[in-house]
Every structure is written in structure tokens, then in C-alpha cells.
Amino acid sequence: MSEPAPGHRIALPFLLFAVVTVVVLALPGAREVSAQAKSSETALEAQKLAWDDNAPGPKQPIPFSHAIHAGQYQIQCLYCHTGTDRSRMAGVPSVENCMGCHAQFGGDLEGVQILKKHWEEKTPIEWQQIHRLPEYVKFRHNRHIQAGVACQTCHGPVQEMNKVYLVPDRGWMNGVPVAKLEMGWCINCHNKNKASIDCLTCHH
């Protein structure tokens, strides 16, 4: 278990971004596109919806729309949430990660302006947590990704959400109704998929 300090490793998303940037900048006319970058109506609308007080879910510090990123642009979840396939914890992207794209795009959007302020001031973004498990549950993201469980199974159709919220889902466990992210809900799925239902798997 004791590995000496690993050496440097270039983060995959950063590498991808570098490649994309080089390609984009090499295209004729790309410079003008990025300079005058005007965001689409869809983006503006998505942003408005992400801060819609009437929509379910808590207000986030930035009007970030998953529907635009994961839905319209079809960016893979793991592209931003790195490490989720390797670690127990899901990686919430760093400000640097966001700036990888938004240094170039979407400068006219309010959300991106807030993001840039965080980047300039080097302050982290304090997101409101939506999918929360108690401290005594040691959920392993990597195990579920390895088993081929789609992120949406627990997190809902995030690619359709402008404002993320905990999509209600009820099941029945031993005649008792259980809500999403409650233990019976987990056990139901574990039973269906013949996964371990030993207590120590999650509680230690």
C-alpha cells in the first residue's frame, strides 16, 4: 500500500484542451471567432433557467447549466469530473479546469464572468451540494463506474437539467417506501445487480 511519492503526471483534460486549442487557433478565422465570441440564444436562456428561482434545487453561486455542457455539447461527465473512475470521491472540477475552455469561450455570459473573477482572485467556488450521503456511508464512485452504472442512475438526467436538483425517485424495500439515496434504494439496486449487500462494504 505504501507507494513513494508519484512523479508528475499531466492531467488528461488539460492535454485534451491543449490539443483542441491548438487546432482551433490554427483554423483560419478562429481568432476572430474567439475574440468576438457571442454566445448563442440557447446559452443565454440556459443561464437564465439555471438561476430560475421557481425551478427545484438550490441556487448555485454560478448559473451553470448541465443541459448546455452535457446535453447540447455532449461533453462527457468524466471530462470535467476527473478521477471519478479512479477514486471513491467524484471529482468536482477545479476553477482551472473550467477556465481551460472559458478563457476562450462565453466571455459575455454572466456565469463565466463570475468564474473569471474566481480565477483572478484565486478563490474557490462554493457549490451547494445536492447529492449528499451521510458521513458514515463510504460510497465508491469508482466501483460503480467500473461496473458500468450510468451517472444518471443516481444523479438523474443531469444532461437535461439547467438547474440541478435531486430528482425524486421512490422504490419499495420490504414493503417500506424508500427515497433516492436512502439505504433501501441502494440495496434494491445492489440486489438486482447481485452486488454486495454486506454492511461493511459501505459502513466502516
Partner: protein
Amino acid sequence: MPELDRRDFLKLVGVGAGAAAAAGCSDPVEKLIPYVVQPDIITPGIPVYYASTCRECPAGCGLHVKTREGRPIKLEGNPEHPVNKGSLCARGQAGLGRTYHPDRFPGPMLRGSDGKLAPISWKDATELVATKLRGGAGGAYLLGSDPGPTASGVLDKWVAAVGAGGRIVYEPFAPEALVEAAQLVFGNASEPVFDLSKADLVVSFANDFLETWVSPVEHARQLAEARDISAHPEGGARFVYFGPRLSMTASSSDEWIPARPGSEGILAMALARVVLENGGGSASERALLAGVLDGFDAERAAARTGVDAKTIERVGKALAKAKAPIALPPAGGFASNRARAATAAVLVLNQLTGAVGKTLALLPLPSDGKRASYKELLALVDSMKSGKVSVLLVHGADPAYSMPQTTDFADALTKVPFVVSFASSTDETSALAHLILPEHTPLESWGDAQPRAGVRSVLQPAVRPLQDTQALIDALLDIGRAVSPEVAAKLPTGSFRTLLEAAWSDADFRQVLQRGGVFAEKSGPASASLSPGVAKLGVADPVLEGEGDYVLLALPSPLLYDGRGANLPWLQEIPDPVTKIVWQSWLEVSHETAQKLGLVAGDVVVIETGGQRRAEVPVVPRGGIRNDVVALAVGQGHTQGLYASRELERGVNDPQGKRLYPLPENAGRQVARGVNVISLLAAATDEAGGRAWLTTKAKLTKAGRSERVAFTGANDNMRERMLGEAITLSDLVAGKSVVDPEMLGLAASVKERLQDAARRGEEMTPPAGVPAEALTRNGELIAFNPADDAKPGSPYRWGMSIDLDRCTGCSACVAACYLENNVPIVGEEQSIRGRIMSWLRLERYVTDGDIDYVGGRPPHSTLERLGHVGVRHLPMLCQHCGSAPCEPVCPVFATYHNPEGLNGMVYNRCIGTRYCSNNCPYKVRRFNYFDYSLETWPEPMKLMLNPDVTVRCQGVMEKCTYCAQRVEFARQPAKNEKRLIRDGEVTPACAQSCPTQAITFGNLKDADSQVAKKASDPKRGYHALHVLNTRPATTYLAKVVRGPVEV
């Protein structure tokens, strides 16, 4: 208006409660705060390890610092490091808490005229010190511990550049006499390094090498190697301990000979004489020593040492006969004013028995770095008193605590107009300092260490400094540069980090940081010759001050060492390996002494050692100490520090002003926790100016009151139950088994198991190597295979084996368990109430524990007898029974048997009935009577919690999980690769830390696993309290009783 009936009332209440609950649930309360820039090597949830070096004592063990999300959460030994080879003692592991200690200074502090500390900026502080140095730095002195070779070199340059008076290295228990004695005996400057691993006879002259001397982790490993019963069926090295007290080290010996304290030199001379008479030594050595050994015949030595002549003859002959004997000189608390002569006598004995080149290497002294010198320190104290010292800069030491009172160090300190302390957290010296410039803790620092010639070890920061601190060298360089441009020109340029890299330029620095250093072990000369100087060794009885009847032993504590561990709560709460007392000071006296003075355990005595030196301390009578000796451990008696003093109990540091559990009765009565034995000692030095600790006689008088002693193990009597078992070597050789077939098993349950097996269509077969007749009685099978106690389809049945023959009782495993599993600290008062929370404890029993009394209470709570070893250290943790008594009594299924054989404990199910604990025969379940965790980890200590282990709250039962989190961690790669977890991939924290590798963990279903092989030992393997038929997964391997050395 209709009356509100009960049913309606409940409805209304129900709606209200529901609404409240819904409101409580709808808004997320937690925030997700990702990095601004995520470092490349950090993935949240995956630990990163850094190689570094432990600075808790001068041994210089290699570390692997486990960090999560940039925070160190556990210290483990570096397996590549030649000193500790992957293990780490309790002190080293608890050192993690220094970085997160609530007593740390937030930044530089200046003491105002009102005596209170106020923050000051680094710039102003640096300028302030520079101003003091500008007017002539001749009166400025640097005093501190050895900061490592590179830092030491820079400090010397700094002293020269600034023109300071000098630099003194201070280490309270520095083995100064050893180097001096080697010079005297072998005629050249060398550092004797003892290697016990190749020895066949170890003779310790009151040397507690398993506790604190030079390199305890390394010595423990070497001794275990030399005595490994599987490699040496004849028993391996024999170990004889001469000393007045049955210490932790002595409890691992085969023969404890209670010699008079201070007589070690005489004893060594007498033994040397017997060795010479029995063919040891060369002709020239015989000629050289003829006159020296004249007065040391066995008869006369017997009268002076308290060891009878026959024993001296016997051990002497054994030494002469042994192929690779090793003799260890008196050290620690046994360094008297004749320490050099005594050490030299032991080195002569080593030379005569041919140890040099085999078990004793005479390595060259490290050329860089400066050695500790008590002589220089005493000279400094004199100049302080006479007002010649204008500025004193203290780093890495606490002389105001650890200097004898008779040197008046604290008084001398008040005569220094400007005292600067570099302490990172509160201690006695910083409390007297004018300016505090806190340095980084070792986990935040760059640096290096040189444990011995050829072994160079590096320190690298594993965390960004938590407080506004600076590296010692950087702070001093800044000060020097601020003095004047001329001084700055003489100082090395760059930061300490660059200077360190330059000092390591002969090696690939990146590789050094990965491996933890450069390890090129050197060997000394194959032989040595005695210098003519030995003709005048001057071995004699030490001179002791004071008028009392008892010799006062001030021994370094195995946990608190010289007092530096006292502010780390784990070291306070881990029981003393000998008496099992926590959080307190106690005076060990013999039963006879106690009887003479009319004392029982807990009665307070006034101890007077001459002059104004007196203290009051409760006594603990025991059989394992000479009648003419009393012993008091060094380390307690601090007046500063949240845990080291009684500050916590007075509640002054409680941020909310709120107590979570009632104040103890003695709250606020005194500020000091226990007694600082150093304040009782006379200031004496040995022949070469090294510090003497065996200096004083003590007078005892009954104080007429008593105190509650915080015993955590009340009794060392096993009462004939199968707990800490032992087997004699002759029985082992004769093929006998520690388990008496007559005592085995409950027939009924065996029958049941046989029927079960028959129903499954299986046949129960005895484990390999076990004779069938040992397993049956009246034709019924009475043995079992613990591997059966898992779900039939499961590939694993986790199990453990603990080799009691290797266990020394050092408690490293206990510390590992505390830090890995977020085990809370409960404090002195709760410990007295028996609510200590350790999941793993070390029980200590003496002999087979016969019931030697009829009715009523035993005469003493201890079965120790003078000159009788018979100590069994028994690491006791959850046995993960196959038929666990705790499981069926839990009404809510919070504890259960898992498919892999573990006895699971689900905290979130537990409702706190405590039935399980009541039904556990091993008493390994711990209950959270209070929310201890809130007090255990005040800010910022919460940062060091292991995020993979749930923090338990009030009302919840907890216990050892076999480090289930580590099993789960190892499962991930195995599942990804679609294979089983390999043997050795899971190592629980206790097994990982053990210096002697006494603990083995693994899969009992895999017949080739290390643990399965060890657990099936037909001769030594047994289960604790096996008559209860709990079918434990933990197999103990009985201690081997080798008996006294014979010739």
C-alpha cells in the same frame, strides 16, 4: 369547542414534526469546494505518500507520510529505510499531532511589558533580533537539538558570520558516554553501533534498548530476528538483563538479574574477568588487563553488585562460550557520574568476547554536524548567570523543563536580556522567552538527518505550513542578512531548500525524495585492539547525593521520552507498558518498601532528595523492583501545554466555555500534570562531562492522603485462563503443544459442527501437521479451522496471528490503531472510570497466573517477583470470533458476522444498549459515553482525521474492524483486475507499525497465505479463552520460555 383528544394531538404533532423534518431536509447544508488549481498528483480520495524522516528522537527512522487532499493523516515507516524498515514506534506515529496541535503559535509573538504575548510581523521580529545582534553579537548563543547535518553546517556558518558566542547542541538523553568510552577503550574516535540480529547472547547492563536507547525500533527488530523460533529451533539468542527494575525491555529477557543500580561497570569487569579466565581475549589483552581486573573477582563483585558469585561465574562462562555475544552499556536513567568507566568496562567485555566486527561495529563519527555536549551547556548556564549572555536563541529543545533544578536554568534564563524561542508550540522555555519565532513542524520542513555513518535520510514537507511559521534556517538567515551587509555577504545565499539541494548534489535529489535518502551502510573494522588507556578505567561505585534510603531512578518514559511527548494526547492515553497507568506520574516502590512505610497503591508520599527538592507523588508498589530503589518516569510535570499540563481540565482552553462532560474532582487544583522528576535530581556529570541521571538518593515519608491512580489494567493475574500463554523451549523441542487436549473444546458444540459438516456432505479434516489424537476426545473432533467461519462461497476469511514470542509490549500497534481509526481520547478522569476507547490494548500478565490465594483479595495486585521474568504481553483486540457472543445479543443487528468472517460493527445502526460489550469475554468493545470526539480533536486537529473511517458519536459502540477500510481499499484494484486480493496486499495499521512484525494478517482460506501458515502452528498456536468456544479468527502463538542461560 371540541376537546382535543389524544389521537388528534398525535396527528397534529405528527404534521408539525413532518413539516419541520421536511424543511430540515430540503436545503443542502454542505458545500462542495473544489480546488482553484488542482495539483497534478492529487485526486480527491486517493492518498499520496511522501518519504521523510522522523524527528521525535535522534534515531532518525524513515517515514512514509500518508496524505489525503494535501493533509498528512498517518505516519508509517519507510520500508526501504535501513533503520526502521517500515515500522514506527508509538512516539513517531503520535508526532503527526504536532502539526495540527491547538497549542501551536499562530505566528511570531512578542512578549509585552505585561508579560502577555502579542502578534508581531516576521519583518518586525527579524529586525528586532537583528538590532539586538548589531551592537555586538559576542553574547549571542544558539542552543538547541541537532537539526541534521545540512542545517547544522548552516548554523555554524551563521554563528561565524554573525560573530555569535557559539552554538550548543542539547539532547537530554544523548549517549555522550558511549563515544567517550570508545575513545578510551579503542584509542580512536568512533561511534559504537550495536547489531543484535546476529547475536547469540545479549547481555544488557540496565540498558533499555527496546524503549528509548539510540534506535529502539531497530533494536527490537534485531532482537526478534536473533530470537526467531522458526529460524532458530534451538531458541536463538539468549537475553540476560542486569538491572534493578523489571522494565519493558527486561520483560523480554530470559533472565532478569536485579543488580544494584550503578554497579553495571563493576559487573562488567567481574564478567570480563570470568571471560578471561575461561579463554577469552588475547595474551596481550590479558597482560594489559591483569592489574585492572584485580579487585573484581566474582566474590567481591557479588558483594558490591547484589548479584551472587555463582550467577556472575555462569553468565561469564556463557559469554566466553558464545560465538557472537553482545553486551549493552548502561544508558538513559542509569548514566551515573561513572558512566564513562561503566560504558568502557562493557566495551572491554565486548572486545574480550570478540563482539567487535561481529555484533559491534565501530563506525567513523559523522564528519558533519555537531554532537550534543552537556559540558558546553553547563558552561553556557554559568555565563548566563554572570550576565555574559545577551541574546539566547533556543530551538528544538525545552531546557527550562529538562535541565536539573540545581543548575538554576530557569533562573539563569531570567538574567538573559533577550531570549528567542523557535518552538512551534507552547513549552516551558517559550513561556519564558521574550520573542517567539515559531518554526515549521517536521512534517512542514525540509531537512536531513544522519542516523549513522553512511545512512543519510531526507525530510521533505508533506503539507503547506498551517500557521505563519518559517523554517529555522530561513528565519536565522533573514536575521543574519538584516544585521548588516557585511554579515549578509558571509552568509550562504538562497533559501534552506536550495542549500539542502546543494548539500545533496552528489545524489539525484528527485530520487532521494522518492526513496527517503541515500542508504549506503558502512561496516566498521573487523577487529579492534584495546588502547593502553584501559589500564586506568576507574570503574567504581557512583557517588549519589542525598541522604535517603532509596536510590531514585529517573527513567526516560517509553512513551513521553524526555517529556517532549507529553503534549501529544495519544502518548498520554496509551498506557505505560509496565504499569498500565495513563496521564499521571507515579513512584514505583517494592512491596517491602510499601509495607515498611504502610503504603498501598495510590497513597501519596513526600519524596525528598536534599536541599529544597521535594515532591508529592502517589506510589505504585510492585514486585519487579529492588527494595533499595524507587523509580519515577521522566516526562510528566509540565506546566505548559493543553495536554501536558492540567490546563484542559481547568477548562481554560475550551473555546465555547462549555464542558461536554463533568469537570473532574481535582480540576484546577494544580497546573502541573504529575511530577517532573528532573526537578528532584542533583546536577551531576560523568567523567567526560556527559549528563548523569543516576545521581540522587531519596527519602520517603507518608503524606497521609491518597490519589486515584489511573490504572487501565488492574491485575497481572491470568487466573489460569488461557490468555497470555507460554511454552517452554524443552517442551517445544519435544514436540508438545501449548494447548492441553484435556482443556480443549466444548463437546456439544463440536458435535453440532460435525453434524453441520455432515449435512453439507463435507468431511472435517484436521489442519495439516496436527496429530489426529490431539484433536479428538472420546472419538469426537475438538479442533476447528477458523477458515470455516465465513460464508461457504466467499473466497476470504480474514484472520490474524500474533506471535507473543516477538511482542515486546512497546505499544506501537496501539498508537497506530488510535491514529488510523480516529479513536477518541477520553482524558484522565474518564480513563479512571474505565472508559478508555482504545480498540487495541496491550494486556500484561505475569507467569501462568496461578490463583495463589484462597478467598478474598490477593495480597498484591501483581505477581511480579524479584529476579523472575515471566511477563506476557498480550495485544488484545476484537478476535472476530466465528461464533461471536456479541452478535446474537444485539437487538438491532448493528453487530453481525460478515460473509468474509469479519465481526462487523455498523455504527449507524447502533442504539447503544451495550449488550454486546457485556457479552464479549475479551472486553474489546468500547462505548462512547460522551461525544469524546468533540474534545479530542479541537481545531485544527480535526484536519488529521482519517476520512476513510467514520467518526463515532455519543451512544455508539465501537471496536476493532481489522481495518476494514484497508481491506476495501485493497479490494478496488483486485476487482478492477478481476482477481482475488493477494496475500500481503492488506496490512492493518497495527501489523504495519509493529517493529518486530509480530502481527500477521491475511486470508485464512488461502492455505499459502502467511497468516494461514502461522495460525496453523500445531505447537504454539492457540486461541485466547478457547474453552468458551468463540472460534476466534485471531490466533496467538505462545511465547517461548527459553529459561536462564546455561553453560
